[in-house]
Symmetry: C2
Subunit: 171 residues, 2 copies
Amino acid sequence: MIIVNTGNGKGKTTAAIGQVVRALGHNLKVCIIQLFKSSEFYGEQNILRNLEGLDFFYFAKEHPYFNHNLSLNVVLEQCLEALDKIREILKDNKKYDLIVLEEFNVALRDKFIDVNIFLKLIEELSCNSNIIVTGRGAPTQLIEVADLVTEMKEVKHPYSVGAKVQKGIEY
Amino acid sequence: MIIVNTGNGKGKTTAAIGQVVRALGHNLKVCIIQLFKSSEFYGEQNILRNLEGLDFFYFAKEHPYFNHNLSLNVVLEQCLEALDKIREILKDNKKYDLIVLEEFNVALRDKFIDVNIFLKLIEELSCNSNIIVTGRGAPTQLIEVADLVTEMKEVKHPYSVGAKVQKGIEY
């Protein structure tokens, strides 16, 4: 099954993390491939790296939107490394019950990853595993092939009235 | 801060669980008070009960929608016990950084919990803690007082085409 968490609201990543915890609680094998998230920053990373049954990979820790000095070519290369990791999983025939592709929607939206190449890979992956793809701006082609799509829709957000990001909530 | 996860889509509970894991990863103190979820069923419960810094309480394990033999009065009483747990937290001045009130929106919608009593309690709770209230059908009064509201909106769901619930995904 291919699952997509998208939309402008909160909960895309945390819902995927909750899903990972749910799957691990049933002793399933889980893999997270994460883009655009510094490994020292997010609280969940401290817990997840100690859980059994979970393989956790990071690529392209920063997005050019937040670091304007970042070379687009470097980000592009790092995203291609993430795709290579997916190919490696397919080649090794490594059995994961659940594979979370964190923020890949953003990489697709920003053309760091080609949508057709990606769709081919995840259709193949989804023969053996459930796949969750997160991030705002999921491309229409992905929504078309997905089985379960949720839009996390912002109804009200304190950022809009000037609130600051909070440890344990936003990161 | 009062946070609400509502809507007809997937991800309300899993996003709260992800939030719990994020907070615990920063060594914050977390409490979950859960309604309408059998403690033997959901995978995340097996992981969460072993994490340090988390207190986990269950009340009203079944909802009458899923068990028609259930007495409404019994459910009502169990929901009132859940409110008493909140009062106990307030009285003991127990410091939680994050309190998750799982499926309380459903209890409010179905009148097992009075919305005015609930709002008074969580406004008091939110002086010391971030609060997340989950469940479909969040009442308008709760949305009004909340700081952050996300609607998990179903764009596409395999149930609608007859798919079965899957271990590690739905539970």
